[in-house]
Amino acid sequence: MHSDFAIRTNGLTKAFGKTRAVDGIDLTVTAGTVYGVLGPNGAGKTTTIRMLTTLLPPDAGSAEVFGHDVVREAETVRGLISLTGQFASVDDTLTGRQNLNLLARLTGYSRAVARQRAVELLGAFDLADAGDRMVRTYSGGMQRRLDIAASVLSAPRLIFLDEPTAGLDPRSRNQVWDAVRTVVAGGTTVLLTTQYLEEADQLADRIAVIDNGEVIAEGTPGELKASVGGGAVHVRLLDATQRQFAEQVLTRVLGAPVRPDPDPARLSVSASDPGRAGEALTALTAAGVAVADFSLGQPSLDEVFLTLTAGPAGIATGAEVNAV
């Protein structure tokens, strides 16, 4: 059974007690692409991955991986995927080499091939020197790289990465990103969850934003950015206490409400007309508002995210931002 879709879910649902961790999620992931699932802690990202990787049976709805049902054809699905869990899915009391050896043997490689794969992958993931050290002694970045090495070992068609760069420093994060890009270039489909918009923006071809177990937006990074309006004026105030005053001026001149922002010194307002933006700056200066920074640009995914998770209307001024 061939399918152009690496993943297709239909009303996928899972409840724990009264909490609906995943509440009717529909996802379609095209084979060969990177799909980002973006959401705050507790949004249902990990639960979704656990259902897709056959670890958890759904309460309702269905999910297919390359056309195979994750419940009825769990064994087939397991033969096509590989999972890098949120918490290291390697054994920290074994060495890196022992981990790769073990997983290679469990994948079905012969003893000799398994040993060779372990050596190759340790080298490719910059772990050759640490290969015979216990994983417990590895840095977070090294553990993650080993984890991903373990995931590509079985030549899966689909790799799940659950928050692959959580807690990593920028250098390690870039190494993980490079590894993901390389894997994808080889034709493997990747589904990754993340809380970092930059990560989704950097890696994903399409993004689903989920919150409270539901998909609240879906599209390419560009589409999501466009969905909150074209460009935006960003103002950073020298003095955050002038915020209210500045909000009034901007709303008057630009005719649009100021978007909620966790930073009191930062204001963003939709504005597609650069001329109006110029007027806004003049008006602020004339009104005596001290401006530290003023720019006109595309909205960032951060804004998209905050806007989307702020409330149903998305742009309700002053709405509680409970997603961060």
């Binding site: 724990f16 990787t53 056959t54 670890l55 958890l56 064994e75 087939t76 397991r78 033969g79 995927i81 590989s82 999972l83 890098t84 869990g85 949120q86 918490f87 290291a88 899915s89 390697v90 054994d91 920290d92 009391t93 074994l94 022992q98 981990n99 073990l102 997983l103 043997r105 469990l106 994948t107 079905g108 490689y109 091939v113 794969r117 190759e120 992958l121 080298g123 490719a124 993931f125 910059d126 373990a150 590509v152 070992l153 079985s154 030549a155 899966p156 870039n174 990103w177 490079d178 590894a179 890009r181 390389t182 894997v183 270039a185 080889g186 493997t188 930059e198 923006d201 950097q202 960032s300």
Partner: protein, 279 residues
């Protein structure tokens, strides 16, 4: 914002590896089990001394206390008692160890790597059976040391070394099956705090057997319990094997117990293992 990163050397190497990778057929059940037994052995090696200490403490203490304090009262002389009691201590030493197996597994499967195991297409019981196979080695070491101590104290098996070896093999087979009770319990009761209670319960089951004294000396109601306890059947068969008086019926009862334990607690453990919510 979007920077195109130049592929560094390791990435080029990864690309080259990915091109050559081809997914093989999943391993067979035996191969998967042995691979996971290898993992368990590496892990056990790290704590071998502590484990051995734990494993040996109980048989040594019981052997010395029961033999020298109670042996005279139980069997007329300590030497007479040792001939009957040592096979029982062997049984107890192995059976008590099976609880540690359940405990080890319950701690182990909380680790992230079990998520990976569960999402791979190999024979799933191997994840647990591997550890259980490795633990057979641990039981064997305990049995051997206990037997050596017994021989040093004056235990003389009527059927010689062969009888002793066969008895130990029977104990190992039974312990492997009995361990599934504790894998089931450790999956049901997720808190390791219950170890004390489990240990007392197991102790009670061990005492309600003919390990220490013959059931013929007991009042009828307790004798009824002791006589159906599979641990009694095992220690009867083990005594028979070491002293050359074993009957086919005695071995048959033990085989039946092993079969029932495996058929009931094996699948039960696996269902619980697969259902476990978080890794």
């Amino acid at each position: 914002m979007s920077t195109v990163s130049k592929a560094p050397a390791p990435v080029a190497a990864l690309d080259a590896i990915l091109r050559t990778l081809e997914r093989p057929q999943p391993p067979g059940a035996l191969s998967a089990t042995l691979t996971l037994a290898w993992r368990a052995a590496i892990k056990a090696k790290n704590t071998a001394v502590e484990q051995l200490f734990d494993a040996m403490m109980m048989p040594i203490v019981f052997l010395l206390i029961f033999n020298y304090l109670f042996g005279g009262a139980f069997a007329g002389s300590t030497d007479n008692y040792l001939q009957v009691f040592l096979p029982g201590v062997l049984v107890m030493a192995a059976v008590m160890q099976t609880m540690a197996t359940g405990h080890t597994i319950s701690l182990d499967i909380a680790k992230g790597i079990y998520d990976r195991f569960r999402s791979m297409p190999f024979w799933q019981p191997a994840s647990l059976v591997g550890t259980m196979v490795t633990d057979l080695g641990r039981y064997l070491v305990t049995l051997t040391l206990t037997a050596v101590l017994g021989l040093a104290l004056g235990f003389r098996p009527g059927a010689g070394a062969v009888g002793l070896v066969l008895a130990m093999l029977l104990i190992l087979a039974f312990a492997f099956a009995f361990a599934w009770i504790f894998t089931t319990i450790s999956l049901l009761v997720r808190s390791p705090d219950s170890i004390q209670a489990q240990s007392m319960l197991l102790m009670a089951v061990v005492f309600c057997s003919n390990i220490f004294v013959e059931s013929s000396t007991m009042p009828g109601w307790i004798r009824a319990i002791v006589d159906v306890n599979p641990i009694s059947h095992l220690s009867t068969a083990v005594r028979g094997l070491v002293h050359g008086t074993v009957t086919a019926g005695q071995i048959g009862l033990v085989a039946l117990s092993i079969g029932i334990l495996l058929v009931v607690f094996g699948p039960l453990t696996m269902v619980l293992y697969r259902k476990r919510k978080n890794g």
